[in-house]
Amino acid sequence: MSISSCIAIRADVDIISARQRGRDLGVELGFPKTDLALIATAISELARNILTYAGEGEIEVAVEEAGGRRGLIIIARDHGPGIADISLALQDGYSTSRSLGIGLPGVRRLMDEFEVTSDPGSGTVVRAMKWH
Amino acid sequence: MSVNGRGATAPKLNSAELNSLREFWDVYETQFAEIGAEIAQDAAAHPELATFVGAGDGDEVAESRERIAQAINDGDWADYLADMVAAGSRYAESGLSFSAWFATGRSLRSKLVPLLIDALSEEPERLAEAVRGVSIFIDLVILAVGDSFIDAKERIITEQQDVLRGLSTPVLELRPGLLLVPLIGFIDSERALLLTGNLLEAIAAKRARAIVLDITGVPAVDSAVANHLMQTVQATQLMGAHTLVSGLSPENAQTLVRLGLDLARLNTVGTLADGVVSASSILKAAEARAAEYESSLA
């Protein structure tokens, strides 16, 4: 069974909607408040990245079940310019612009599983998972 | 045969092995319930096993026999191996020792061989096959149960380690508003994270304004550890608390400085006692401020 929610990210107000939805789902799954804060903050940063680098995109939050455990998955998608060098982007301290967002390494630290797929020209997909 | 984490895969047996198993099973099947009852009786005398090995009721015996037949005759090991894996897990979780359950295997072997001799004494070749079959069978069972047992034990140990880690980062309230955290042992990123989380919760719960993080008991203080500690110090600052790090040896301090670390961001003080003195004055200053502010409102 999978409950999923998809939030369009087009303006800064959407950042709050996305993280609220993520938090609500986290509460349903019974995450402790520390994890809820991590999840909400991760969504916030991913949504910001979408706005900053692609202008628009979407954030999906859903329940995942595997091996008897339940987790919350966040999928951030955009059709922006993409990341030319993912390994570079994942290095701590790297940032292409002085603008908002703390970069992918930070989000990775917040979550249990983290995966970035990106091709210049076809957009970026970030998948991040937090297990209960 | 290969056995992996959560289950066991069916054994790959050649025709000779399969034949041995069938010879063995042909005889064993006829005495299955009886042997089971004998094993249960033996187990009842063993202090550890008494609760685990029972004769089982008629249905359980029939089901067990059915599953072995399914495995040996039809080559479908799924159900039987699943039972063995479940048993291994159960034994581990209830604290049964390896030697105890291993003894049941020995017990089974000791009962089966005479049984086979009785049944096949006139046919030495079939007897030889069947005895080999006993070995093959018992090895399969021990492997399946054993692997599952070990997996479960490892899971339990990891869980216990987590609990221990939680216990090993105690946050002590020396006086209202002053927390002491005596760190002992190696600090890795996971432990540092746990420490930070606990400390922040404690600051909120105890309304703490001054913290002494004592690292006298931390054997290896390299730049990684120093960075972890700096992050912890910074995090507590977000909640308006001052954290001092005490117990950094002069040698370690020198090394860190040489590595280019800004020790000022670690708020180092000398010994634990020095730390407590400094923290106390920080606390006093805060209390004085609060009192001053209170009176100004009056």
Binding site: D12, L38, S44 | R207, Q234, T236, A241, R289, A290, E292
Partner: protein
């Protein structure tokens, strides 16, 4: 919706209740700067007790608010960061370094009250 700014003595108090949007944060920054100048306030306390998240934008803006307020001749304190919020910030490497912080509103007011009076830069 505008975020309410209260005045207590010579200190302005902002209690953020709901999660402010980026636009609201920016508006708050502007509003606070104006009010500090208008009222000649000596202190500003921003209370984030109700916030569940302080992300990179929020953290940056709070630091900027503190800096701007200081330029206007006052001092600012951020108070009420919740433990799980501080934890997330620590993992992300976000800090309010250079900004005064306190556990709660009471402590924040006491902290600012104890600072030597800063003369306005006009």
């Amino acid at each position: 919706m505008a975020i309410p700014i209260l005045k207590q003595g010579s200190t302005l108090i902002v209690s953020l209740q709901a999660e402010p949007t980026d636009a609201e944060f920016v508006a708050l920054q502007r509003e606070l700067t104006e009010r500090v100048t208008q009222t000649r306030a000596k202190g500003v306390v921003v209370d984030v007790t109700s916030l569940d998240v302080l992300d990179s934008f929020a953290t940056r803006t709070l630091r900027e608010i503190a800096q701007t307020v200081t330029l206007c001749g006052a001092r600012a304190a951020i108070v009420g960061v919740q433990p799980e919020v501080a934890f997330a910030m620590a993992q992300l490497g976000l800090s309010l370094e250079g900004t005064l912080t306190a556990l709660d509103l009471e402590d924040g007011l006491a902290l600012l009250h104890a600072l030597p009076q800063v003369t306005s830069v006009t």
